[in-house]
Point group: C2
């Protein structure tokens, strides 16, 4: 039987609750496919700050690097919101992404037929939405230098950041995006602001260059402001979207809200080699933490992405995905996706129902 080592990073707020569910789901789905896991839980985010004073302890990063895949719950909370930058939970997340070199963030936004009413969009606009945002995750304005505070020529105080992309950075994310589009419906839309920004003109030039390797994928380009509109107007027009770090941050959140069920949406962050990082796209929701109210399905589906993209275990992944659909078909709903006529359950019970369906 195969054996993989998984680093679990429960994090803050509802993180530990949803990670606990996903862990049990992994164990069961794995065992049915002859897969065993060694789990190692490590502190990260606000809980690491409280424990050892930094948001990403060295031990956590090195354990993550040595494992086959990393599953993260959620990080952050009011308690640490006023911390200085290097002592913010979010900084730990950025350090983790950088440390694992996971430059490709895959964020699906799918409207499940069972949950189409959860969207604020009209049914005919929302139903059938099934898109994937491929976001560059370790470059651009998030990491660009120079950055910081200073004074300008007039002696005025300033704050500044640098948006910068190099050839290898655009080329490798473009390749991931083209490969992703090829496995989906063969359509890739690259989003930029090439009518204003040099960094975007460069981005577009490299995406076009890489496109020569993928003649079977239909490439289009869209300005980011228009993309933000088109996601509202007609999200079904999109198959795969590729974009930079900051535009991807904004557009993938917009796309996920369009589905109406962000408690359902997983994500995968992948590098060229080494372990991938898998996490639900929702936050740590401190207001409902420890009340058994959280929706664990986004983390459960992140575990499925871990199996599929992180370990190449497609069969075990499919088991989990099917079990989630099954559980929804049976009418089980946590509060965030509840609608009349269904069965309201807590985090734990939802987890148990998924286990039954596997």
């Amino acid at each position: 039987s195969k054996r993989y080592s998984i680093t679990l990073l429960p994090g803050d707020g509802i993180g530990p609750e949803v990670i606990s569910v996903a862990k049990h789901v992994l164990i069961l789905a794995g065992s049915l496919e002859g897969i065993e896991f060694n789990f190692q839980e490590m502190p990260m985010g606000g809980s690491a700050l409280d424990l050892v004073g930094v948001p990403l302890p060295e031990e956590t990063l090195s354990a993550a690097k040595k494992s086959d895949a990393v599953l993260l719950g959620a990080i952050g909370g009011y308690k640490w919101d006023k911390n200085e930058k290097h002592l913010k939970p979010e900084t730990g997340l950025l350090q983790l992404r950088e440390g694992l070199r996971v430059f490709a963030n895959l964020r699906p936004a799918t409207v499940l037929p069972q949950l189409v009413d959860a969207s604020t969009l009209k049914k005919e606009v929302a139903e059938g939405v099934d898109l994937m945002v491929v976001r560059e995750l370790t470059g651009g304005i998030y990491f660009g230098k120079p950055r910081g505070f200073g004074t300008n020529e007039d002696g005025e105080e300033i704050g500044f950041n640098t948006e910068v992309y190099a050839t290898y950075e655009v080329d490798r994310i473009a390749r991931v995006a083209f490969e992703t589009a090829r496995k989906r419906h063969g359509k890739l839309c690259s989003v930029d602001k090439a009518n204003v920004l040099e960094a975007s003109m460069f981005w577009r030039k490299r995406v076009i260059a890489v496109a020569a390797e993928y003649p079977d994928v239909e490439l289009s380009h869209m300005y980011v402001d228009n993309a933000a509109m088109q996601l509202v107007r007609n999200p079904k027009q999109f198959d795969t979207i590729v974009t930079n770090n900051i535009f991807g941050d904004i557009l993938s959140d917009e796309a996920s809200m369009i589905t109406g069920s962000i408690g359902m949406l997983p994500s995968a962050s992948l590098g060229s080699s080494g372990p991938g990082l898998f996490e639900p796209i929702h936050g740590s929701a401190p207001d409902i933490a420890n009340q058994d109210k959280a929706n664990p399905l986004a983390t459960v589906l992140s575990a499925a992405m871990l199996l599929k993209y992180g370990l190449g275990e497609e069969k075990a992944a499919k088991r989990i995905e099917n079990a989630v659909l099954d559980t929804l078909n049976k009418g089980f709903r946590t509060g965030d996706i509840y609608s009349a006529g269904n069965k309201l359950v807590g985090c734990k019970e939802m987890g148990e129902e998924v286990l039954k369906s596997i």
Copy 2:
């Protein structure tokens, strides 16, 4: 009687058609309030490129600077899309904003009861939306230096831009935003990415400093990714939003699409002194140009903003706004906002109906 000089910049595509309507509306509404106008039409955008080889001729900028207000139609088109940056219509627009020093871009997004069905959002989510985006327009990554192309330490090609804000830039846009919120419902939401970007931390610090002058306005802060979600989830939560140039570009377009009728939405760009720039938020729509299909109401409402914000002529502005509502109440609709049971009209006829209603 009062007399104002107005620079008209018809621009490209449907620009000339909608400007022609707005001009006649201005003349009539003005005459009823004892106001006369001198209009001067100048070339700008693609049509200026074709005529004299630059997107913003010097004569156009100096005429605009000398006038009391500037009304722009729309610029751009496929024909000039592949032009080098300094020969793009968009570059002319950025030069115009910079030249007029119009740092504050006011973009209302209002769902009119008559047009609530045009939104892709569910009726209960869309109805009653009435928000204003105050976008910083002459700073940030649009204008920051250094910018361009080069090579990094590894000899790799790069493209880069600088996001930068100085104290005076944030302070003045914050003041416009607080004043705007004060005249509306007293709520201001400042949108940034202060959990990652130093430029945003600086932005937030200055907005908080300026807030001391406006104790009657309720200030909140939101990350840009969350704002992109909240606009879809519950746009009614917003009154006034203030944000930087690039986030404002994205969010104001998203907000306008949420109304479902971008053919209706005007904008105003204001400086500390000198003429303001007024324009519809829609583009030049080359595919329907010269077919008498364009919706002129966004430009007509931009003319109303010109009267109100540019010239302080509130009464004449109100006449135009009321005439537009009247025309909609009578059931007149251009194709973009048409729904069954209404009267489909072209650009010219819509203009004539507004004139009748004034």
